[in-house]
């Protein structure tokens, strides 16, 4: 494999392989940003990977009060799934259990789309006949009586079929501390890119997986080629100095958004440099035959 070195950080000449996904977005508002964040975090807590969680979800950014429909502070959440049916199921369950329940919350469409998913149209039945439909211009809302007043929820939200899931960066470092520092700056840089999320804890995953396992019925297992403790025992992807690998997985509403997020992450890691951060950046793929979207690291360099 050819390599490039930028400011002391080695960049593998490889690519991240990503897949088409269905995605939607909602805007959650509350009386304070604290409670808008709380509802969003609760809704996206167990949503790291479609393998085990049904969807991948995360906070795409905060929205100033002046820009939300009810002039209260808001948080925009993105959800990604492999099918429209699963996305609808996850959206409905998560808004019902995590946003409807959160004090003072309201929930609006976070995405315009020709195709829509049911939001308030599905949750209105919680009102047990006391729900109220309101239309203002082209917007349709449901008001559902709850114990702190009313839960206001837009009837539908948009769906996109142009979304991409599985953009990634593999960050290789000499110690766990420096590698984590590099992953943190990359995660922070990616959080500023619109229309993307990094669904793992704090945007970072330490247990990258490969497809399949030696055990029957286990769909994914540890990516042994990147496990530093197995470096001498297996065919490894790591060089002798590497002691830690962290991955950032990126889902975006568009392919361009994923590319922009990966570029922002790479730039942040390079900026931190090899002494305080990572010695090497790589990316995960399956040989290029499974996913239609390929993000070559050499095209993302600052």
């Amino acid at each position: 494999m050819q390599e490039m070195t930028v400011k002391g950080v080695r960049i593998d000449d490889t690519f991240a392989e990503a897949f088409g996904m269905r995605a939607t977005a909602v805007l959650i508002t509350a009386d304070s940003i604290r409670w808008a964040r709380q509802a969003a975090l609760t809704m996206t807590g167990f949503a790291t990977s479609v393998i085990g969680c049904g969807c991948e979800a995360g906070v795409a950014g905060e929205v100033a009060a002046e820009q939300t429909p009810d002039r209260r502070p808001g948080v925009r959440v993105l959800l990604f799934a492999v099918s429209t049916a699963e996305l609808q199921k996850q959206l409905q369950a998560r808004v019902a259990q995590c946003v409807l329940t959160s004090p003072g919350s309201a929930c609006y469409a976070g995405l315009d789309g020709e195709e829509t998913l049911r939001l308030g149209n599905a949750l209105r039945y919680f009102g047990d006949g006391w729900q109220i439909s309101k239309r203002f211009g082209s917007k349709h809302y449901w008001r559902i009586p709850v114990m702190d007043g009313e839960f206001l929820c837009e009837a539908t939200t948009g769906l996109t079929k142009q979304a991409v899931g599985g953009g990634n960066l593999l960050i290789v470092g000499r110690t766990t501390q420096t590698t984590l520092a590099a992953a943190e700056v990359a995660s922070a840089a990616i959080a500023k890119v619109p229309d993307v999320i990094a669904p793992f804890p704090g945007g970072i995953v330490r247990s990258g997986s490969k497809v399949g396992s030696k055990y029957k019925g286990v769909p994914a297992s540890t990516n042994h080629a990147y496990c530093p403790t197995l470096r001498g025992a297996v065919v490894t992807a790591l060089d002798p100095g590497a002691a830690c690998v962290l991955e950032i997985v990126i889902d975006g509403l568009t392919s361009n958004a994923v590319a922009a997020a990966m570029a922002a992450g790479v730039a942040a890691i390079i900026e931190l440099g090899p002494e305080r951060g990572a010695m090497r950046i790589s990316a995960g793929n399956y040989g290029g035959k499974l996913g239609p979207h390929h993000y070559h690291l050499r095209n993302l360099l600052p």
């Binding site: 309101k134 239309r135 203002f136 211009g137 007043g149 009313e150």
Partner: protein, 269 residues
């Protein structure tokens, strides 16, 4: 933009039916064709040129000048474009209007915006009885769009309204929002007796309250609801006065319990 201007020569001696003078019907017509449009409502034939001076322009923008309250059905089934009226209009202005803008720099007669489906109608003067109401035999009145009345309205504003928004900046007569099926009616001025009479669903917002609230509306207490913020945001571009109403918590009355009882009237606490 060069509007098509119709100037009334004098107050007509019979009521005239202006239903055919809407942008989508005049589009593509010549001056001669427009001048021959019949407007009479009695057996005495009246063509447009008899009563109006016509200055040709784009049919999408119609101006009616020196209007009179004998001109009925202005903006009938209007599907787009704009009609601006200088002066008063008669009955049924904007009836079944679906889109576009109808502005009346004067007062409107009864049944303005009757059965309106969409678009924007603004009346700078007063409006008569049954604003947005249904015609005889119809089960629903206004079912979309927004109506703004800067002056007062007569009895039963929003009668059998099903959808859409009415904002009245002046006072309203008795039975405002009677038999409402849904939709939103905001009255900034004082409202006559029994607002929301037999309403099923829908929202009435009263700034200065009513002369007599029906005992079949039940006090639900004072609330600061997100829906008030959305309503304010929606009507603010049309009426800053009405939008200000929502800046404080409002008292909610549920009713009419003599009907379905799922409607509401908001008032100052």
């Amino acid at each position: 933009m060069n509007p098509l201007v119709l100037t009334l020569r004098e107050r007509p001696d019979q009521r005239l039916d202006l239903a055919s003078l809407v942008p989508h019907r005049l589009a593509g017509m010549t001056v001669a064709e427009i001048e021959k449009i019949e407007l009479q409502t009695t057996r005495r034939r009246v063509v447009l040129a008899d009563v109006f001076r016509l200055r040709m322009g784009e049919a999408a923008h119609i101006r009616i000048e020196a209007s009179s309250n004998r001109l009925d059905r202005i903006g009938h089934e209007m599907a787009g474009g704009e009609i601006v009226v200088e002066g008063d209009v008669g009955a049924w202005a904007g009836r079944l209007m679906a889109d576009g803008h109808l502005t009346i720099h004067g007062s409107a007669g009864p049944w303005a915006a009757s059965g309106m489906k969409g678009g924007t109608m603004e009346i700078l003067g007063d409006a008569g009885d049954r604003l947005g109401g249904p015609a005889a035999g119809e089960t629903a009145g206004m079912r979309g769009g927004i109506v703004l009345v800067r002056g007062r309205v007569g009895e039963r504003a929003g009668d059998r309204m099903r959808r859409g928004t009415i904002v009245v900046e002046g006072a309203a007569g008795p039975y405002a929002g009677s038999r409402m099926i849904a939709g939103t009616l905001v009255v900034v001025g004082r409202t006559g007796p029994l607002p929301g009479y037999l309403m099923r669903r829908g929202t009435i917002v009263l700034d200065e309250g009513s002369d007599c609230m029906s005992p079949t509306f039940i006090d639900c207490g004072v609330h600061d609801l997100v829906t008030a913020r959305l309503t304010a945001g929606f009507i603010a571009p049309y009426s800053a006065r009405a939008a200000r109403l929502f800046s404080t918590p409002l008292r909610r009355f549920a009713g009419d319990m003599a009907a379905l009882g799922k409607g509401e009237i908001f008032t100052r606490p």
